[in-house]
Symmetry: C2
Subunit: 341 residues, 2 copies
């Protein structure tokens, strides 16, 4: 298709005296324009014989009918569920999925990205879980046909899909504030990740909204792992329980935390309240059932595939976009009013 089309979107934009973005969005039906502008674009298209072929405007199919899905750690139920959602959505469209697990290492990510250049897959849904020194973004931008999901690769100019991390943090903060907590411990993932930053930001906003200057938030920042959850619990105990409530920013962190609390005889919520984030594991069967923010994991997967298949991948089209999916709080029995001391 690309070879037959000699006129680019740029040529049309120039001829019509509007920006490339305007033409692209107009063709995608995303922009309402004055009739005179519409006519100008349409006559430029006719004059230059530009073909906004509906197939060319989607991901080219038929080469491999396979898309690639890159995730950090398949043993983490969050990513495993995301993968299953992409699989199901792809299957319903008659596409195969090839999965690559990077073990969260940059060398493996770069290797897998290069596969798309060698045409083993038609496009990639890409999930990373560590900061980028710029190499990743460069390769993603060169490769094209990549949708970044869950965590950001800041310099990548491709469609991005995240859950609404900040509102998730806000819902945690509001729930804790309603129970009277103003000294809260935030246990987050890697410092540089938007999930860590935005969940904290939301938490802070909600607590300050209710408690103003009385709100105090401690931060233990590390990794979204069971091991880091254990570490954080040991530190919390060593520091003599410096908060009345804890926001554990992933299922894995919560699991490690609760493990150590059980071993140490610290009772939830009698001694300390806990809220989790993800709600992918069987938190409802825990003793006590854990209150948590539920991520729309299945929707993330479905929507990621939609973005990959229905994005206008023409080189001229503006690709950078950020879409947030809403989260919700699932209230169970792990939050109570602060214990008087």
């Amino acid at each position: 298709m690309a070879e037959r089309r000699t006129t680019s979107l740029k040529d049309v934009a120039k001829e019509a005296g509007v920006s490339v973005t305007t033409v692209s969005r107009f063709l995608n039906g995303k922009l309402d324009l004055p009739d005179s502008t519409k006519k100008r674009i349409e006559s430029s298209i006719a004059r230059l014989k530009y073909e906004p072929n509906p197939h060319a405007r989607r991901l080219s199919r038929g080469q491999t009918d396979t898309i690639g899905l890159v995730v950090p750690d398949i043993a983490n139920p969050f990513f495993a569920t995301l993968v299953a959602a992409v699989e199901e959505e792809a299957d319903s469209r008659g596409l195969a999925v090839t999965l690559y697990a990077t073990l969260n290492r940059a060398d493996r990510e770069l290797a897998y990205l290069s596969r798309i250049e060698r045409n083993h897959v038609d496009g990639l849904v890409f999930v990373t879980n560590h900061p980028d020194n710029g190499d990743l973004a460069e390769l993603i931008n060169r490769t094209g046909k990549v949708v970044v999901v869950d965590e950001d690769v800041p310099l990548a100019t491709v469609p991005k899909l995240f859950c609404d991390n900040e509102n998730g943090g806000f819902l945690v903060g509001r729930h804790l504030a309603e129970f009277g907590h103003h000294r809260v411990l935030y246990i987050g993932g890697p410092e540089e990740m938007i999930s860590t930053q935005r969940r904290y930001k939301g938490l802070e906003r909600a607590l300050q909204q209710t408690h103003g200057d009385r709100a105090t938030i401690d931060r233990y920042i590390g990794a979204y792992t069971i091991e880091f959850g254990r570490e954080a619990a040991r530190r919390f105990i060593a520091e003599n329980l410096p908060a009345t409530a804890i926001f554990a920013a992933s299922d894995e962190i919560a699991i490690g935390l609760i493990e150590v609390f059980r071993e140490s005889g610290i009772s939830i919520p009698a001694d300390v309240s806990v809220i989790g984030f993800d709600d992918v594991g069987p938190l409802h069967l825990f003793g006590p059932p854990l209150t948590a923010i539920r991520q729309p994991v299945r929707k993330l997967g479905q929507r990621a595939l939609f973005l990959l298949m229905d994005t206008d991948w023409q080189p001229d089209a503006p690709l950078a976009s950020e879409e947030l999916l809403p989260v919700e709080i699932v209230v169970r029995d792990s939050v109570a009013p602060p214990t008087k001391k």
Copy 2:
């Protein structure tokens, strides 16, 4: 390699007057032979210029340096953990892994198997979860370079690796018998699967060993899913709790079961004892912590990769083998003596 080697293992065996198996096992260092036989084989090898090239005797590397891993359902933490173990082991050997999730459907399995024929991967670790009508075995046998893991494909003549399901069932039965249970409900997966059959067989053997004819086992047979666990719980309640203890043959079944019991106010272990199987999810944090058989999931993954890479894949070599990895019981708080009625 194969094209350059005109002499086959069969020729050597014929010339030396021994069986192909003998030559193959001798070359693999798995067989001690009388000196005279050794000499005969060695001189046949020399005369026929047969090259037992150490690379040719292993999985051919260098074509793609990628192996394929086929699993039914990546959202199931058991399979997700298995995948992670294969990934790690592959990574330590400098191999990439391509994962295919079949959604447990035969058409997808057959499609993925055909990829190895088209040289997209050097070999496959294959996990299925449904009965085979023979198509699967035929394709596996034709394809070669496939290791079957976790559940059997009965007619496939390739190396197979399972956990010791029967002993798992036995450990469950013995533990329940020790607590005095003789009326037990077995909630298993699909009827035709060896995991369902062998776990039941072990359970039966242990209960009969202690209780003889007093042992009564009911069977609800269905699927290794949360939904089937819920169904089984509802049936158990509708039938007025016809057993004092339940063996839930997977984490997923146990999760569905416990969910419905909680909603219905049935207390574990006061009203009924429960033992699970897999122990991949955070069963230790459940209320009460769940006693379960622990599968060696990580070892299954590591060993599967070893078998794929170190099997003698020559067409003449005998490939069918079955290896079992040991399981253990992890005792927590979900089993108590039967309630007197």
